[in-house]
Symmetry: none
DNA sequence: AATGAATGAGGATTCATTCAT
DNA sequence: AATGAATGAATCCTCATTCAT
């Protein structure tokens, strides 16, 4: 494949990508047919196969794009903040903002995890994020800010809490991002029994 | 539907249920055909439809069964423990044990969340679990054991962290349950920065 | 097949016959499954095949029964009436009464005409009726009561008019039998332009 | 559905329509599978569903087409004939000619009457024809040409006689149209006992 | 006589993909 | 680049019939 695309071609391609992401998210990957995608764009079926190898290929690309985009957002938010725990907080807040804006992508990665051929890519993507977090955690451990434990496991716990909150309150419900972010950060840093919540609210 | 089943019938039914759960988990719901299910059991296609209305119906039943079974396990573990935080800990540990034994069911609920017709049931099931946890949290708040916050949000955070750890370490990897449970409980109760990990380890 | 049936056996058999006729009439032959027939009777599937060779066999029997029953009714009504035209009138009136009582059987013969394997039987049955009518007509021609024409064609015309009226007014609508019978007899004897309708009404 | 079809597309569509009508008529609607239709045309299965929503949809379309086509033929034959009885005669003769040419469609409407989902359309179609006839009859009554009676019932009687003759002599047998038409017209206008047949024959 | 269970061919329909234009 | 048309394997499901008990 790998076509050289004109400007117009690139736009069309993106158009398909977006529309497909929306439909996959709404109805699921399998229940969404290529026909529906192209019909909803008012174009012929050939267009799809001009820009993409296959339905699977398209899905993979959506997956790749979203994980890159999320990471870009996180890194922009973190900048060169020196405090590792603060970096984690910034990362969480940035993630939640991104999740809010791309709430429909939730379903996609959720689904991707359930089928072998997609799960692989997904885990690779996640590994990058976990790696980032793990680095911050190690630094914080060295600084004595958090107790010595398996930092990767902590990273997973953190990510699980954040994502589930996002999924529940930004996707299913419609809570303001800040409220969710405060809870997430508070919980991640101090757990259920940790420090005074008041301390957590001064953003 | 609603057939009167003989002993043999009930066994066959369960057999299909189990096999289907396994296959759905392994390959995904859509990629697993009814034909594959019955073939792998060495029975005719009609057998499937003798016991189940449809593929969808079967899946729904698997979903229902697993959420009930998990809850039963949690409640058995909690017993009449008076301390609400301890109840939460016991719940987490019990869940992780159940997850270990039924690791293949992970994918099923993961998938279920991505398609409207299944998501509904799933959320209903989850609501029950969240409710249980929320009750414990409220009690702990009344006791002043944890700071005043939206207990439902906390419940979600807790559940997210636990499930993600389970998914990662009990399903993808093969960590001993106790290790994962210790991290989970520690993280949930104290967050990243909370009390000394030593305190957490005395099960 | 040809089983020797006990009294109870004969009743069961008739029960199936009746129920099947009703269901076939209501929903059509093909859309009615053997399962539906036995389920609606609350018996197992084996019962059906105990009494009938096959679904097709059952249908054929219903067909045969109804044509015999109708003929019996016609002959009873005609008795030994000497006037051939009067015999025709009596036959029409008797038929309409029978049709009213067995309106559901309309669909069955209607359907039977459309599939080769059933059409044969149907035509044989019809041939008997046409034969009866033809005999009356010939006699009337000999008497000079009706003009010389192909009596069999007339018989078909007569039968067509009568059946269609029956179908329309006794099955779809719910007209009193006598009203329909008067119109039918009048039309058959005199056509559109024939003698004064008053003359037709003295039953 | 509602596709924009190219010339080629329209031809293919008609081809399927024709072939299906033939097969349905020959073997019956249910016993004819979509596979048989497409195989007999030497095309893939998908073609069918490119042009028709479903087998049912196709059948409905055949039904609609034939009733329209028959009516067109009747109206063309009647033209602006002022005499209402003559109009009826012309209508009968035109119908019989159409029936001869489309004898295979007999079975289709016959069958359609026996299943709820099709019966509705059929009755609607018939209602139009009955309406036409009823109008002529009313006019003839006003003119005193036929006795006062329910004109709609007469219309049904007339239609029943004509159709049954057609079915019997143009489909099952192979009588010349004119012969059947003469009998039909004679019977309809004068019944069994009506005016001299000689009068009827001078077309 | 009767039941629940099982069979498996067959049927309608879908859909990713390819092709001719 | 793009379209309508076509393919045909695959899918879910139905159902007449048979079987073991």
């Amino acid at each position: 494949m790998k076509r050289k695309l004109t400007q117009r071609g690139r736009e069309r391609r993106q158009q398909i990508l977006d529309q497909a992401a929306r439909l996959f998210a709404e109805r699921g990957y399998h229940p969404t047919s290529v026909a529906e995608i192209v019909d909803s764009l008012g174009v012929g079926k050939g267009v799809f196969y001009w820009y993409f190898e296959s339905k699977e290929d398209l899905f993979l690309e959506i997956l790749a794009f979203s994980s890159h985009d999320l990471r870009r957002r996180q890194q922009a938010a973190i900048g060169d903040e020196p405090d590792p725990l603060r970096r984690i907080e910034l990362g969480i807040r940035a993630s939640l903002q991104w999740f809010r804006q791309h709430r429909h992508l939730f379903n996609l990665s959720q689904f991707a995890a359930t089928e072998g051929r997609f799960a692989a890519v997904l885990h690779q993507n996640d590994a990058v994020a976990i790696d980032d977090i793990t680095r911050h955690l190690k630094e914080a451990m060295v600084d004595g800010r958090i107790a010595d434990q398996d930092p990767t496991m902590l990273a997973h716990a953190l990510m699980g809490a954040t994502r589930h909150l996002a999924r529940t309150y930004l996707y299913a419900a419609d809570e303001p991002v800040e409220v969710v972010a405060d809870v997430a950060v508070g919980f991640v840093l101090h757990g259920l029994t940790g420090g005074p919540p008041a301390a957590r609210l001064n953003r």
